[in-house]
Amino acid sequence: MGVAISIQDLSFTYAETTRPALRNVSGEVEEGTYVVMMGHEGAGKSTLCCSLNALVPRFFRGEYAGRVVVHDVEVAKARVAEMSRRVGLVLQDFEAQLFSTSVELEVAFGPENLCLPRDEIERRIDRYLRFVGLAEMRRREPASLSGGQKQRLAIASVLALEPLVLVMDEPTTDLDPIGREEVLSVADMLRQERRTLLVVDQDPDTAVDADQVWLMREGEIVAQGPPRQVLTDLALLESCGVQPPPTVALFQALGWPGQPLTVEEAIALIREHNLARPRPLQTPTLPANGRPVILELRDVDYVYPTRAVEALKGVNLQIREGEFLALVGQNGSGKTTLAKHLNGLLKPTRGEVLFRGRPLGEIRRTEMARFVGYVFQNPDHQIFSNTVREEVGFSLRMAGMDAKAVEERVAEALAVVGLSGYEEEVPFTLTKGERQRVAVASVLAAQPQVIILDEPTTGLDYRHQRSMMEMLRDLHRRGHTVIIITHSMWVAAEYAERVVVMRDGQILLDAPTRTAFAQEGILAEASLRPPPLLRLGNWLGTSGIPLDAMVEELRTG
């Protein structure tokens, strides 16, 4: 078997920047192997992906040194269109990759560019749509597909070029758990076909099956090796802003023998060495139930006027002051629709929504921003000012507050999100994690009693996810009621006190976090699964949620 990709001493600095995005990167990928790349935001993963199909340095200009050879072609000397026969690149943002009005034409686009005859294009459409499981959707409009289907279509449209190497840059980041599994199962099939596959992913679960894991930090590759070697070096993972496999972390903290990468492995090891004895699980009840209800939904139905789809069906929900609540469920289960009722962005078709017993309809918009703040998923959907100061002060100025008071509030909000001293920065130039914080600060400045966040951790690396959630915990401690919508099970498990599981516009489960995650059967109905540590905890019968609590519990017996 030959070498598919060979990278020698590659360095690259984007034009008009000074910090190199890649520094002396070297590596080799054997034909037919599966490589997973991990690293923090800005570590150079995407740049490295783009350097394989000549987007770097052809599309993105800059200072380029070193040599990248893919199947005997030196990339820097080729054009992107030529490289497309050798390297297929699937990007994270599937929305931006799809542009045709039907699924089949989307797949046809690549082969058309290769000047293939019509019957060959037809054959490839057939073959690759079947491969990604979209054969039934041939005539559908891509916009009408679910997230996971869209990303699978994006993969099919790249596969149709029959590239020798397939590179996927964070293909699952924007997806819900089902979409993620759909995409990963396609990756798995490709692996079984022994195709050369390079995937960037944040989740240690994905990396477990790789032949090689490449760990990147600050533009350099700091580790290359089989998963069992790379994923067990917790300090190194931590320094790269990568989440370590929680089961490995648990075993190391307890000093137990073995480095289990998966829950199944961990259970086998515990059995084999008789490390702990499973016991019946005792779940705590929710504290703080005496506090007054701050938001309430009564028999709420909601039908989207344009689609005539019932997005909420008879939802009843009481949220008490000072709660930290996580809304979980698949895309389209009604989480966001429900949340948008809580600040009056949507008005129920039937039923009512109350804020401290007052119907939302009676509350003015500008007033509402002070009661319930809503942070949208993508900070770029709201940032528009030239300075962070202006951005954060926007809602206050809209409410007609005087300049001095605005100044004070802005400083306060920035301190809470950890961005003090950023007042004069241009928001657009900040990192994604920082922009996310600016968005939170701009909602916080109005000092809302309740703050709702839609996917606060999506698109952030592990390090930024942690610090974002720590900040929310801090807000919660200050007395704010915090509601998050999330796909990330570990985020919900470690930070929320209460979990509301939605399915098909209804509340399927509403319980204290530990209790909710003990109900694996009900969660499965909503296509959800507890995070690895809690699956192990459910088996062992431990009630602690974060790693330390679980370690403590297992130590004391």
Binding site: A96, E122, E141, A143, L161, F376, F394
Partner: protein, 262 residues
Amino acid sequence: MNIFLYLDENTWFHRLDPRTKIIGVLLLFGIVMVFNHPLYMAAVALGLVLLGATAKALPNFWRMRYILALLVVFSTVLWPFFAKGPTPLWSWGRLEVSRESLMYAVAMGLRLASFVAAGLIFLSITTNEEFTQGLIRLGLPYPVAFAFSTALRLVPTFAGAGATIVQAQISRGLDVESGNIFQRAGKFIPLGVPLFIYAVRHTNMLAMALESKGFNPGAPRTWYLNPQMRRADYLALALLTVAFLAALFLRLQGYGQVLPRL
């Protein structure tokens, strides 16, 4: 959010070659322009409704019912004051309505609605790619046709992003509904800037994705869509040409006219 009007049916109309559809809709526009007598226009409008029904495009007519009704009503109310006719009906100072101007107004209302209806039929039976393909076969260079169809394609994407941006800013207390026109214009900055930046980012990503799939506007390429001019196409074009010429002939003979203007 779907602003596209294409309806995925399999009628005789849908199967026509895109060239036929493009030339056909132009001929329909021509026929719509010929008469200005309300009865003749009514016949044209009825014809278009029948065509629409055959093409299974009526759901789109229904979707656009308010716009269609609005066009008829506004034009009927406003035109009488601008067109002058010989038989006065009513006057008030310099304002004057005549029998002919009223009829002309009704005809103009029907003409506008028919115009929209012809366009709707075209959009209901033609996908974006077919339209592009048709333009290319009619001689438009590929890069131009591609840019055109991509621009069309991006409209719903940007509209969707725009809707989210509006909600995000409303959640922060932006009040888009009050204030005079200047105050309102100022409120579009919080909406326009994020949309603009989104558009730039999105287009950049799209360009990357296209290049990665081997796109090269100057290079030769093949087509999966392979429309063919068949007998039905020639027949349809012949019928429409005959209809157009017949209408033109009638009008030149003085039929279907209330006022001697377009």
